[in-house]
Amino acid sequence: MAEEIKKIMFTVRKPPHGSIYVYEGLEVKLIMAAYDADISVVFMDDGVYALKQGQDTKELGIKGFAATYGALMDYEIQKVYVDRHSMEIRGMTEDDLLIIGEDEETEEPVKPQVIDSQAIAAMMAEQHNILSF
């Protein structure tokens, strides 16, 4: 009998720069997406800054990785969410979010889906396991 596909959620709660957690956490997502698992990614708290478009790390002297988020859908990571409250209290709107791929049918650019904390809680309750970065 085929194993049931497990739901695995990643939460991104730290700012993208200042530590390596978010960058190395992205590497985990890209690898895990190649396996048979139902992957979702939720950006919340300072993690929402990782999705800000127009990031430039040149002055930091480090390799930026925001461009890789633009290919999330190419890596078969379709379920990408942002916590509305975390975004709003940081003065960000949906317009600030970078594009994570394009719709297969319409070829329209796709942004992460902005959802409420309650919806995130409900999704968390359904997960087999959650990894936080």
Partner: protein
């Protein structure tokens, strides 16, 4: 219950390694099975034999090695290790370097993935 553990922080600098170790010992005592232990981020520094702490302190790498000797699979992420100069030659016995696929399998197969770190 099958439990997997992932450790994000380096030894001594942060309590994550100690907490994870104590958690694992307690879980085993309660009859749980440890699916595997995965070191990521600076966690890869936990299992280098080059560490030489003062003699009256705990030896974190040897402690992990002893746990590995009981048959628990202890894996160091190769990508995180290479970035930080951790290679096979500097590892204590009973741990191995492998890829993030191992973390994936632990996450899928374990009933619980418990993460220690900031």
């Amino acid at each position: 219950m099958k439990i997997a553990v992932c450790i994000y922080e380096g030894p001594y600098n942060h309590e994550a390694s100690d907490s994870a170790y104590n958690f694992i010992k307690a879980a085993i005592d309660k009859g749980h099975e440890i699916q595997g232990i995965f070191f990521y981020h600076d966690g890869v520094y936990n299992v280098t034999k080059l560490m030489e702490p003062p003699q009256d302190d705990r030896h974190i790498a040897n402690r992990w090695s002893a746990l590995g000797a009981t048959g628990i699979d202890i894996v160091v992420c190769i990508a995180a290790a290479k970035r930080r100069g951790i290679v096979d030659d500097v590892l204590v016995p009973n741990v191995r370097i492998s890829g993030l696929g191992q973390l994936t399998m632990m996450t899928i197969q374990a009933d619980r993935m418990v993460v220690f770190g900031d």
